[in-house]
């Protein structure tokens, strides 16, 4: 393989030395550095999670869309035990990602063990272009260990109506 060596007067103190840049060596170095930073980034993400959302109390709420032709999602408001914990206004880009199978993490939080009532209020445009607001709820029995809840919007073609489901993601 042809190797291109470029003479490189580096900036600052290193400029005095007659260093050269081998693009292939630099490429390998950059690849290794990126891997290292990605791994560090992963570990820091996990550290943040452990610190802010310990496993025993952790609850994550995700939003998914199945087909989604009968309802154009505009926003979701999530309350837990009558306290608003998350609201999200969806952009076209985000809706497109949901339609393609992406899942949005609406909320990550802490709840003590015991029963909690989760209520999701969906607003958007329903069948025939009309404004549409629906609420769905779930009583979550929070035990030890992280728990995941899904807010799912699906089309019920038989009734030509959207369906809103709140359930534990298993």
């Amino acid at each position: 393989m042809k190797r291109l060596l470029l003479s490189l007067p580096l900036a600052g103190a290193a400029a005095a030395t007659d260093q050269v840049i081998d693009p292939l060596v630099l490429d390998l170095e950059v690849q290794a550095l990126k891997e290292e930073v990605f791994n560090l980034n992963r570990d820091l993400t996990l550290l943040r999670e452990d610190l802010l959302f310990p496993a025993d109390n952790q609850v994550a709420v995700y939003v998914s869309l199945d087909v989604g032709e009968l309802f154009k999602l505009d926003s979701i408001k999530l309350t837990v035990d009558d306290r608003v914990v998350a609201t999200h206004l969806y952009s076209e880009r985000e809706l497109a990602a949901l339609r393609r199978g992406g899942v949005h993490r609406l909320w990550l939080g802490n709840l003590p063990s015991g029963e909690h009532r989760l209520v999701a209020l969906f607003t958007g445009i329903g069948p025939h272009g009309r404004d549409y607001r629906r609420a769905a709820d779930l009583v979550l029995a929070k035990g030890f260990g992280p728990q995941t809840v899904e807010l799912k919007i699906a089309d019920v073609e038989r009734r030509l109506q959207p369906e809103f489901v709140v359930r534990e993601w298993r």
């Binding site: 840049i21 820091l44 943040r48 802010l52």
Partner: protein, 542 residues
């Protein structure tokens, strides 16, 4: 030509969708979350979430699709070695066929990019027969590109017919088919194929650019034998687009080929009105006096050569200035926000030596190096974010520890208040009174609960302390890793920047050398015009 073909191939690597593209098919929320970011082109968050989720074993069901997505995300960051390792791990029988097919495709792409053509073809043949149209087309196109790189244009043309992929990818297939036909000696078929790209209006900028390239390719193929048809193709190249000056230059040469020297002056004089930093314009500055001398207008030709020498010398000086601007770091300032996967270039006035660097900027090698530079910059910003976060985490940690120490005496007081011994004494007293079995069982349950509660309370402060100790260690370790990687990242960033600058300087230097050669050529031609020795034979002719 190879550059153009490779570029399309490179784009196709990035555009391939993950195996599960249907909504409702995601089994693991964490994989769906990565997809959510991936579909919004936020590759960094997609990869971070994926890696974190995998570390916690949160993707048990979609693991194969997740690995495929991780491999393609790593590929988008230029991490070819680890991406390849991921794709290779997906070639086993326990992986769903649709994931395995994509893994083979990615491996073929990687081999192609590395110039390992046989390996690329072998990987393509391992793909199954039941492919979705998108992947079927990509395999077809890549197979043809491999054959063209191997010089087998006839087989490449056969491989592209009939088109089996998505309709939106067909123009690229048609373009490559036209080239393959021309190169394999089927000039008319190839030209006809390329001309079909002119039939429908180009809906996107990329489609219009592809059409320009097709018309230029037609003109190049026909210039020698059929200059009139070549000229027709060149007329279809949009006049104020990047390929327009090449088209005008080619149109003039087509006239020269047909010995219509006067007609050649029309497109070339148009070129002389355009900025001289374009190589096609520079060539026109020499071509005009050449044609004038062919037309026998010696004085006009001499004047045109003098004007060319002045113009080219001034341009040489401007290249020197552009090289100085690159040395001052202005190139990377202009390129910092450029999408290396896209077609567009920064505004010409923002880029030192703009026209000369167009080809370099479009090259895969430069774009890849630019992407590395941008990746390193964004990773550096990410590390700065974490450094600030870590300060906050330390404060939070300190506050948690203080709260724990404050709560512990209260906990111990509650523990004392439980006073299980007193309940045991009551039990003994109750036993002497021969209680009912139910009453005794209830008391025993209460006692057991008390014991468990006591144990939990006794354990709780120690467990909390151990958790806080562990987090403190992790915070300290993360800080050490940050301290360690940040200077190396900065150094790599500086070297990457220098590499890009040096490539631009090489390009500009080569262009300056070419200009100097053109100036020498003009001086020589000017001297020849007035060389008495050159005229003497004509005067002696009876």
């Amino acid at each position: 030509m190879a550059r153009v073909l490779r570029r399309f191939a490179w784009l196709s690597v990035l555009a391939l969708a993950p195996a599960w593209a249907d909504p409702g098919r995601v089994a693991d929320a964490a994989y769906g979350e990565s997809l959510f970011h991936y579909y919004q082109d936020d590759h960094f968050t997609a990869l971070t979430q994926m890696m974190a989720a995998q570390a916690r074993a949160r993707i048990p069901r979609d693991w194969a699709e997740a690995e495929l997505l991780k491999g393609s995300l790593k590929l988008s960051y230029g991490l070819t070695d680890s991406a390849e390792a991921i794709f290779r791990r997906l070639l086993t029988d326990d992986v769903p066929a649709q994931v395995r097919d994509r893994a083979w495709y990615y491996l073929a792409r990687l081999a192609f990019q590395r110039g390992r053509l046989d390996q690329a073809m072998a990987a393509l043949t391992r793909m199954g027969s039941d492919l979705p149209p998108e992947l079927r087309g990509r395999r077809q196109l890549l197979g043809a590109l491999v054959l063209m790189e191997q010089g087998d244009y006839r087989a490449a043309a056969e491989a592209l017919q009939p088109w089996q992929g998505l309709a939106e990818d067909e123009p690229y297939a048609r373009y490559n088919l036209g080239i393959a036909l021309i190169r394999s000696g089927h000039l008319e078929d190839g030209v006809a194929t390329l001309e079909r790209l002119n039939r429908n209006p180009a809906a996107t900028a990329e489609a219009a650019a592809l059409r320009d390239k097709a018309n230029l390719a037609i003109a190049q193929a026909l210039l020698a034998q059929q200059p009139e048809r070549a000229k027709q193709a060149l007329r279809r190249v949009r006049l104020h687009r990047p390929h327009a000056t090449q088209a005008l230059l080619g149109a003039g040469w087509a006239e020269v080929g047909a010995r219509r020297y006067q007609d050649a002056l029309l497109p070339w004089n148009e070129l002389l009105r355009r900025p001289i930093d374009d190589p096609a314009v520079q060539e026109a500055w020499l071509a005009v006096p050449y044609v004038l001398s062919e037309l026998g207008t010696r004085d006009q030709a001499a004047e045109a050569y003098r004007a060319a020498i002045d113009a080219l010398e001034a341009e040489t000086a401007r290249i020197d200035q552009a090289m100085a601007a690159v040395e001052r770091g202005e190139l990377l300032d202009a390129l910092r926000d450029l999408d290396p996967r896209g077609e567009q270039l920064p505004p010409p006035q923002a880029l030192p030596g703009n026209a000369y660097l167009g080809q370099l900027l479009a090259s895969h090698g430069f774009r890849r190096a630019l992407k590395d530079f941008q990746d390193l910059e964004s990773l550096q910003a990410n590390l700065r974010y974490w450094r600030i976060q870590l300060d906050g985490y330390e404060q939070l940690h300190t506050a948690s520890r203080q709260r724990l120490e404050a709560v512990q005496p209260v906990t111990l007081a509650r523990l004392r208040a439980l006073n299980a011994e007193r309940v045991r004494t009551q039990r003994e007293a109750l036993l002497r009174r021969q209680p009912s079995a139910e009453a005794l069982a209830a008391l025993d349950r209460a006692l057991a609960d008390l014991d468990a509660g006591q144990e939990a309370l006794l354990r709780a402060p120690d467990e909390a302390r151990r958790r806080l100790d562990r987090l403190a260690e992790q915070i300290a370790l993360a800080r050490l890793r940050l301290d360690n990687v940040e200077p190396r990242l900065q150094q790599a960033l500086e070297r990457q920047r220098r590499l890009l600058d040096l490539r631009a300087l090489q390009q500009l230097g080569a262009r300056r050398d070419h200009l100097r050669a053109q100036i020498a050529q003009a001086r020589f031609a000017l001297a020849q015009l007035y060389d008495p020795a050159a005229e003497r034979p004509q005067e002696q002719t009876p």
